[in-house]
Symmetry: C2
Subunit: 569 residues, 2 copies
């Protein structure tokens, strides 16, 4: 008898798994079940529909050739049966059936399966705050919410938006309202930074500068206490620090896996409810598979169970599950968590662990911060890219890479080059030698990614003793209390302005004059050396060391990093 | 006693090795030797100086902060002695000296070394053609030639340029003259295609379309016989097929390693003269190192000695040599040959083997050709990217990736993602699961690179029986002689025009109607199935197979590939 494959959830992973299964095994009987009539859509496109960049909401549900991927499409093109408006209410593992309920009629029935695929995804987390029921408060995770949000702004009755949560969806929604509709937005984030766990604190500051330069106000380390309304509609958001006017509130305080059915059925789940799966994406019941936002797969950097709620994961995992339920054998070994986001003038992207996450995971980690042009420095069209590499002391293992740059494609070209290596125990030496495409219009001969590996290697070998730009800013602000000698290793003309502004506090000794003027350098004080980007200050540090002066630190990324962090110097 | 390190050649690898050595070992005595006064410049920038995009030639020799990297710079900033206008004439391995000659005075002397670094690079190959001595014929590999070429066009006396050679330098020079100066250019290439060994024949056609759309005429499979002059100056280039007017000729027919000294000294060299080195970049004499354009390093795809004359190689290898001559231990395991080039509206890039190169190397290889948008298909700003993946039958090993796209950064983001894998025995399954950055403004949820892996896997498993777009064009042109049934699996509205134009020759059966109309499909003929991109034709092929019709082939990349190849259908 042909296998009966039942898939619960038909947004991203579900349709992919169903179609792949049918292609490999045309005789299988595959049924997709979803509580909505809207299936197989690109949820990641919602901010771009709300912004107006995507014109019709249906575009998110269409093929590139404008065929709507609805139930009829799956039946005729893919041979997959789809039960829409159908909610699964129980998994009966012993008899291999699921119980379903018709959303409109309430009629209950059972659907038998040989293989079951759980693709229920995740839902927006809605913290239990007073006023959450007011009109004008919505998440942004499904098409109905997308239509609501766009209709609200299009109607012209929204003069200020508050976004609760400074993660991917929150920031993309903030950009959508501010950039395309010109509506001022406030983002309230509970953590001390936006994109926590994805960008280092320093890089997140650069992202905030981009947002705040484009009418998005960012409040981090701030807790929403309640929503206040007028006539049943939201009017204000009250936080622990202020009250913000808002005619529209987007809830983007994270997502939670829709794992209630799996838990009730006794499947093994992780601490936060994600369904645990093996490399074949099988749950603790060998007849049941799970993936996408619902499931936990191995974090290839930490080796622990990870969670990567991203549309690309759902698609790739859907194919693996489709192969396996069709009787094949495909694996999904895990992930390192590559991600990207377009803001206003900048894009940010990364993979693996940030320095903060690495240290929290127990790694003795260092971070290398660098600014470098994304093309040959003589090529006229170019941007300054900021990249950070996270590596482990002792093993020299690379743990993560993150960055921010005006040219998102160029940034992603570097992140993609490293992502695979993060999951395979690669070392900073591999980054130094990494063979990225070189041609002056698109890269440097010693590209920023190779240079990052070089600097990491120098730090891990103890040759380069670094000072983070953030720490430099702190030391400099405390210069009157401290006892630090600030040595500017740039050419005189570059250092001049600072020397004039801070006489006796800022000292100019160009790198090539260090040996000749070694007598001017105090031997009894900590010395901070800096230049424009960190190369000459490293050479100056080596020059000082050659004369026995070793209590020195070289500012990573130099003045260019300090200034981009917003240091007032 | 401090080590004496002597470096012959001061363009790319030499200065890098010298500076790195001094940083690691300040007490070493490092001497850089070059026959020119112009050292440490970005030779890859020459086309952009000739075009005018780079304003002053000195910019190619400057740091990003506009300090000229001349002999004085290396002395004061790096502690490296530089002997300019000094030509090395012999390596005396027994006594560990080199013989040098002052280019101006002819004075001869010897320079002792403990470690010697050979960084002489390569020179333009100049085929011994009649008329080569005429004024107005120049290579484009050093700054003097760059200045000559720019002065010629700036003077307004050049109305037509001929470039001999359709490799990287040749095409970049062609673009420089045509794009920025508006001068028509003819490129004459001996091989049957431009960028042989870097692009497949099919992709090279797309590159030619871009060139020919911008006043660069491309003549492939054509041999230059002689140059004819008037008054001592070149006036015409005579090939085996035509005579082309030219007031300026750029010789870009490849480069040859400057290995005469190494050969004379008895060092081991490869067939074409490249110096053989081990992973530490040591030659057959353990006191002599070599790298850059001069040396052969392992091709990590074939496992054989390879040659990668690229500025990025020289820089990365220079650092490795610098570490090793300073007493450290660094390795350069080899390369896969990542490359990129910006043309007019398109850029091309790749890594590893093309399908032709793979077959020549004895691999039983397949090629997957694909066109896909470089962003989520609903995102408004996007380009169609064409990528090819080369993989080995039997092992499923990935051997190469090449592509062409209007957005060079986005293309390189995919090439960089794969390059490392090519050198590490990775499989098409790794490409299917490859974790590239996903966000709608910069990638698809099922990104083109993953889709390529998926299609390769389907072909290697025998599920998808492919027909290259080139072969399709051939079959279609021979349709009256042949006995092939052409089945258009697109929706009726897309197929209509072709059916009307070619009644009885072009058959429309949309993929979702195959089962119902299976009787219309002939069982006794080879069937070619096609759609827009190749997905529905694959599904149609599976649908036909389910009804016992297996003599079918699905056109890879579909109509979009066929049209981009210039097929007249």
């Amino acid at each position: 008898m042909a296998e009966r494959v039942v898939v619960i959830g038909a947004v991203a992973l579900g349709p992919k798994a169903a179609a792949r299964c049918k292609r490999l095994c045309p005789e299988a009987h595959v049924t997709l079940i979803d509580q909505s009539t809207r299936i197989s859509y690109g949820g990641c496109g919602i901010p771009f529909y709300v912004s107006g960049e995507v014109n019709r909401v249906d575009e998110l549900q269409e093929t590139p050739y404008h065929t709507l991927r609805d139930a009829a499409f799956f039946k005729t093109h893919k041979g997959v049966d789809v039960l829409v408006r159908t909610r699964a209410t129980a998994i009966n593992r012993a008899e291999r059936t699921i119980t379903v309920e018709n959303v409109d009629t309430g009629a209950v029935s059972t659907v038998p399966y040989d293989k079951l695929v759980l693709a229920m995804g995740s839902s927006a987390f809605k913290p239990p705050l007073p006023g959450l029921e007011l009109a004008g408060i919505s998440a942004a995770t499904n098409l109905e919410e997308a239509e609501f949000l766009r209709a609200e702004v299009a109607a012209g009755r929204v003069n200020h938006v508050v976004v609760v949560g400074g993660g991917f969806i929150g920031l993309e929604m903030a950009v959508a309202f501010a950039d395309m509709w010109g509506i001022p937005v406030s983002v309230v984030e509970l953590a001390d930074q936006i994109l926590p766990n994805f960008l280092s604190d320093g890089l997140s500051h650069m992202a905030v500068q981009d947002l705040q330069g484009h009418s998005v106000q960012v409040y981090t380390g701030e807790k929403v206490l309640r929503f206040e309304g007028e006539g049943g509609r939201v009017a204000r958001v009250v936080t622990d620090k202020r009250t913000i006017e808002a005619e529209l509130v987007v809830m983007a305080a994270g997502v939670r896996p829709n794992s209630e059915l799996a838990v009730a059925a006794g499947l093994a789940v992780a601490e936060r409810g994600q369904v645990l799966v093996d490399e074949q994406l099988r749950t603790s019941d060998p007849n049941i598979y799970a993936g996408g936002d619902l499931a936990s797969v191995k974090n290839l950097v930490t080796g622990k169970p990870g969670w990567f709620p991203l549309g690309s994961m759902a698609n790739r995992q859907g194919r693996v599950i489709g192969t396996n339920v069709a009787g094949g054998s495909a694996t999904f070994p895990g992930a390192v968590g590559s991600w990207g986001i377009k803001l206003f003038d900048y894009a940010a992207a990364g993979a693996g662990l940030t320095i903060e996450a690495a240290r929290r995971e127990g790694f003795d980690a260092i971070k290398v911060h660098m600014n470098q042009l994304d093309r040959a420095h003589f090529y006229p069209e170019r941007d300054l890219m900021t990249l950070e590499l996270v590596a482990e002391r002792g093993t020299n293992r690379v743990l993560g890479v993150q960055g921010i740059s005006p040219n998102g494609d160029a940034l992603i070209a570097r992140i993609n080059a490293v992502a695979y290596l993060l999951g395979h125990g690669c070392l900073v030496e591999d980054i130094s030698n990494l063979e990225v495409v070189y041609t002056p219009p698109f890269a440097s001969a010693m590209d920023i990614i190779n240079a990052l590996g070089n600097v990491a290697e120098n730090i891990l070998a103890g040759r380069l003793v670094p000072l983070e730009a953030e720490e430099f800013a702190t030391l400099w602000q405390a210069r009157l209390q401290g006892d630090v000698y600030f040595l500017d290793a740039r050419a005189h003309k570059d250092a001049e302005a600072m020397v004039e502004k801070y006489p006796g506090e800022w000292h100019s000794i160009p790198q090539d004059e260090i040996a000749a003027r070694i007598g001017e350098v105090p031997k009894d004080k900590p010395i901070v050396v800096l230049c424009n980007t960190g190369l000459r200050s490293y050479e100056a540090q080596l020059g000082l060391a050659a004369h026995g002066i070793t209590n020195t630190r070289s500012v990573l990324g130099g003045m260019s990093s300090a200034k981009r962090l917003g240091s007032k110097i």
